[in-house]
Amino acid sequence: MNKANSVPFYRTLFQKTANRTRLSKVARIEERWGYLFIMPWLLGFLILTLGPMLVSLYWGFTRYEFPLPARWIGVQNYVHAFTQDELFRKSLWNTSYYVIFAVPLGLIASLLLALLLDRRIAGRALWRTIYYIPSIVPAVVTAFLFGYLFQPEYGLINSMLASIGITGPGWFNSIAWVMPTFILLALWGAGGPTMIIFLAGLQNIPSELYEAAEVDGAGRLHKFQYITLPMLTPTIFFNLVTGIIGAFKIFTTAYVATGGGPYYASYFYVLHLFNVFFKNLNMGYASALAWILFVIIMIFTVIQLRTAKRWVYYESDTAGF
């Protein structure tokens, strides 16, 4: 065991193949077939992933205002982003705000829905369908539906508020309310995949645990606190990681509903990247912005993986799953 552990990871990857450099005829034919079948991906990886990745890394260090040729400027793009570009700072702030509120609230809402559906209740499949449907509505349409519902002067929500004597806020048109409105929009999708993953997690908790707790006289809250939540931590963790990555990349709903306004109050990171790339044709700076996004997402993911040990509970026999 110890010996195997001292070999670096990448060496073990090659070791298997190094042992059989001299291949039999049959093995050589098999190898050829193997390469043939993975060829679509291999070509795609080189041409559409690795190549563009390296190119955008390079362009991030150039001034490249299309159609003028790219010119090496070192780290100036990155310096510009962090010291001069106010829209960069604004978009990063807005995106962080959105992530900090939309992700935890979304997780709580999804978990609540999953707990409701985990009970023996009449028409469960119907409720699940209704909760799920908002998440399959295309994001462009969702933005339209919310724009219609929350229209400040004639929209249903504010008309209803007006009828009971309350002047509703401007929602998407108000600097103060635009972010909460986007968070509401995100919550409308809480019954989607995240809830389904929670539901699967809940159904994997062995019922013996609850029965044992009942024998010990545990109440509803205690069972939730000491069985459901700890047993659900791997699921919560998964939903948290994927939720944060998804929220960081919010684009479509914001592009459609507000375009970043009013006064950049909902100007998100990818919106900024898109404008620099597609409106200003500033390919060099946009590439740098893309790499900053990549690094931010990686940092978040690594932090979560590192801290996971402290709060995520993996049962020993399912650790390999």
Binding site: I38, W41, V137, T242, T252, V256
Partner: protein
């Protein structure tokens, strides 16, 4: 001794029922809230223009205007947009499914040098945000290959392996197919291509259906791709078409004067109807797809 359990049981049942009633009511209330924006879109799509901005609002269409769905096609070529989206979705998904299954077959049934390394690289590409490769691929497609304003940049990339998730799913599924089947086929003189088309593909229908749904959703709902690659209106998809409908009708919802919201809602309904119908028909596969992949739209 015999009395005690009976009493506690009685007490417990009473507690459960109160909690249960509250839970059922909450379930119902949330269902109403979740469904309401869709209901309101249906109502809006069927109203007359002068019924849109009444105060208090009309909660139902008094005289449903089905002609709104025809009218929306007169403002912009909306049904052409749907056709375009169908073409993109069919050829894109087909490419993704075919190439991902071939690659999955290669990774699961053949031994070759560097297989493990390549598979680890494949899995690593899952964490790469698309934004990182977006700009160079755009320059490649539009300025080098001259594919601007064609469907090619939105179809061709899917034929190169169809993404790590699809390949991974196929590989896992193929790897679970008994080795005996493989050997038996070989003895009967069945080559790798025949084994793939005659045995593997028919066996993997569940995976194919699940992935088709995910592909459909992914391409049908995409905004960024059509936005940057398709510049003329006759090439628009549902998503860019809806934006075009909105700007033709005179901009956002905050506009004063005569409202055109009924047409926007009609367009929205048409845009989401295929997704919802497919979901209702194949719900089981949706749910399974989510649980197997964890993909969230």
């Amino acid at each position: 001794m015999a009395v005690l359990p009976k009493i506690t049981k009685k007490i417990r049942r009473k507690q459960i029922s109160w909690f249960g009633i509250a839970a059922v009511l909450l379930t119902l209330l949330l269902a109403v809230i979740f469904f309401f924006p869709l209901y309101w879109a249906i109502v809006g799509a069927l109203k007359r223009p002068n019924e849109l901005r009444l105060i208090p609002p009309l909660l139902y269409p008094p005289d449903p205007q089905w002609s709104n769905f025809v009218e929306v096609g007169r403002v912009v070529p909306f049904y052409l947009f749907i056709w375009n989206t169908v073409i993109l979705t069919v050829f894109g998904s087909l490419g993704g499914l075919i190439s991902a299954s071939l690659v999955g077959y290669g990774f699961s049934h053949f031994r070759f040098r560097g297989r493990t390394v390549l598979f680890v690289i494949l899995l690593a590409t899952m964490v790469l945000p698309a934004e990182v490769t977006l700009i160079p691929t755009y320059i490649l497609f539009v300025n080098i290959l001259g594919w601007g304003n064609t469907f090619l940049p939105l179809i061709v990339p899917h034929w190169f392996g169809g993404g790590a998730f699809s390949i991974f799913l196929f590989r896992q599924f193929f790897a679970n197919i008994p080795k005996d089947l493989n050997d038996a086929a070989k003895i009967d003189g069945c080559g790798p291509i025949r084994f793939y088309t005659m045995i593997l593909l028919p066996l993997s229908m569940p995976v194919i259906i699940t992935l088709s749904i995910l592909w459909f959703q992914f391409i049908w709902n995409d905004l960024m791709g059509p936005l940057i690659y398709l510049t003329s209106q006759d090439n628009y998809t549902i998503t860019t078409g809806l934006l075009s409908l909105r700007s033709t009708l005179g901009g956002s919802f905050s506009r004063r004067g005569q409202s055109m919201d009924h047409l926007l809602m009609a367009g929205s309904l048409i845009g989401m109807l295929p997704s919802i119908l497919i979901f209702l028909a194949l719900q089981r596969y949706f749910i399974r797809g989510v649980i197997m992949t964890g993909i969230k739209g």
